[in-house]
Symmetry: C2
Subunit: 336 residues, 2 copies
């Protein structure tokens, strides 16, 4: 058979397979959601996604508008006993301490080096800014990327002893795949640093760096030894949290999502922004940490990932609350 | 034939076609570059792209790293006699004038309304900031998007009398398609406003809004009549030009491009940043406006799209200078 004949048969059969697939069974079915137990959450997902992909029906969403946004900490991976980016910063402080003798007498560095977390965290997020500046800036973007990659390959979580990128949620990986298989573009929209996430999220979630929205600092383009570099400067210019999330979405994505998932009140506005438009069906979801045995249980009173307003307003807004304990057959990819 | 049998034959033939295509002729060949005359520019492009897609060879670039960035004004569409975004702003000033009687006595509004461009532009870019603020902010992102769409559908260029989105460059459309057919992701990296480009670039170039990098202003998320909106505020927060372009690329894309195209010294740093890395082959290109008959001829002495440093340094950096007059068989899609 010559090349053209093969090509014609190939295209014809492709069309035929595609048409049958529409009628018989979608190849991209909810079979992907293997780690989701049957229940209201899974039902809400598999009710929503297929109806948005059927052309000619009122709930159809054109592929170009199938934008799905996901918070990261507590939504795609764990965030206890502290945000993993903070664990990274502390490890960096320890690694850099020999070159910074002044840290022995300067807070919050002193407390971090002594393992006194209560004192170190006493100043809240603001109090930690010097730590973030010292560990995340004053170097080139490429040097920082390498530091994050090295840390991710070696550092381990204090409780599970696993690498941090092994503490991603298997059911959420499946949800990302399920959405992508149905023509959705998946984005991360996180309050953490964009440069901290990009070096590893492509491998972890299949989300490329240009589909990551996060907090970011000022940068400077300059020549070093005749080669251009981008230096990371110690000035936060965008905090992608709470009100910042819809703004970050507009800034980076330029389209209003139709699907958004978070786990804390920091995601409230993203989910509100996503689900209050009326042109298409919309899906809002909070992952509720209810599993003290396999992961962590926390919500209204947690200083990390506090979820109160989201729980209070979920029913009236038709948002899905995912109960980790009951909805998820598995937490991490490595779980049995 | 049943579904599974068809699917198997389909996949088998697909593989066979693919393997033959590799040996016989790439489906995604330079046949796409129909409006490019044979010459050094076209040769440089069709030398570069295919060699980067052959796995196992030293010049191979993995698909994830095939990032191509394009300036917009003067690179993908015309920019004379003034940036089209400025033409938009002037049209908006005229449309809004009845509600702003104070503009009759306030510069540069007064001059714009009287058609006295010399006075209006006397203050340079800085002098026009009040005009940009008045026409681009103080409204929701969704309202602004609609205004841009309406303007694009109705406004026409003073010389060609065509709609502005008809003044895109056919050879560059073909180059975008050629790159995408070879696994490249194409991005716009422009000094103009990101919100001004996004409403129309997807249709014009096939580039979705989340692959557009541009200048941007401050925003505020707020509730109006019980519905959330994003308000555009009159404060420029990011100027995506010159040094800003590599920074914008890092900020939005998070990867260093391997291919970059511009037309003015405002694109110098983007092309420098793209072509000075040594891990992969790199391609830098300036579109040189040499065609006074079919478009415009300008470079070193132009106040719009000034190209001097780029021309001076092209040879030593192995950057391609596209000669519009000789390299392009056609300028606009509507040309014969």
């Amino acid at each position: 058979m010559n090349y053209k004949a093969k090509l014609i048969i190939f295209l014809f059969l492709g069309l035929s397979v595609l048409m049958e697939a529409q009628n018989v069974k979608l190849i991209t079915s909810s079979d992907l959601l293997l780690s989701w137990n049957d229940g209201a959450s899974k039902k809400a997902i598999i009710d929503f996604v297929p109806k948005t992909t059927k052309e000619g029906t009122p709930d159809f969403i054109p592929i170009a508008d199938r934008i799905a946004t996901f918070d990261n900490d507590g939504t795609l991976w764990s965030e206890q006993p502290m945000y993993f980016q903070l664990a990274f910063a502390i490890d960096q402080v320890k690694a850099m301490a020999p070159e910074h003798p002044e840290w022995k007498t300067t807070q919050p560095f002193k407390a971090l080096l002594e393992g006194d977390m209560k004192t170190a965290l006493a100043g809240g997020a603001e109090g930690l800014l010097p730590v973030l500046a010292a560990t995340h800036t004053g170097m080139t973007t490429e040097a920082f990327e390498q530091i994050v990659k090295d840390w991710m390959a070696t550092a381990t979580h204090p409780i599970t002893k696993n690498h941090y990128n092994e503490m991603i949620y298997q059911p959420m990986l499946e949800l990302l795949q399920y959405l992508r298989a149905n023509g959705y573009k998946t984005f991360i929209v996180s309050g953490r640093g964009i440069d901290f996430m990009r070096p590893w999220v492509e491998q972890a979630y299949g989300i490329p760096p240009y589909q990551v929205v996060g907090s970011s600092g000022k940068m400077k383009y300059e020549m070093v030894d005749g080669k251009p570099v981008i230096m990371k400067l110690p000035e936060l210019i965008f905090n992608n949290d709470e009100d910042g999330k819809p703004i970050g979405i507009h800034q980076y994505i330029g389209k209003r999502p139709v699907f958004a998932a978070g786990n804390s009140d920091g995601d409230y506005q993203m989910i509100e922004w996503t689900t209050t438009a009326t042109d298409y069906p919309r899906f809002g979801m909070f992952v509720h940490h209810t599993d003290a045995e396999r992961e962590y249980a926390y919500d209204r009173n947690s200083h990390i990932g506090k979820l109160e307003k989201g729980l209070d307003d979920a029913a009236k807004n038709n948002w899905t609350i995912v109960d980790m304990k009951n909805d998820w057959a598995k937490i991490y990819p490595g779980d049995k």
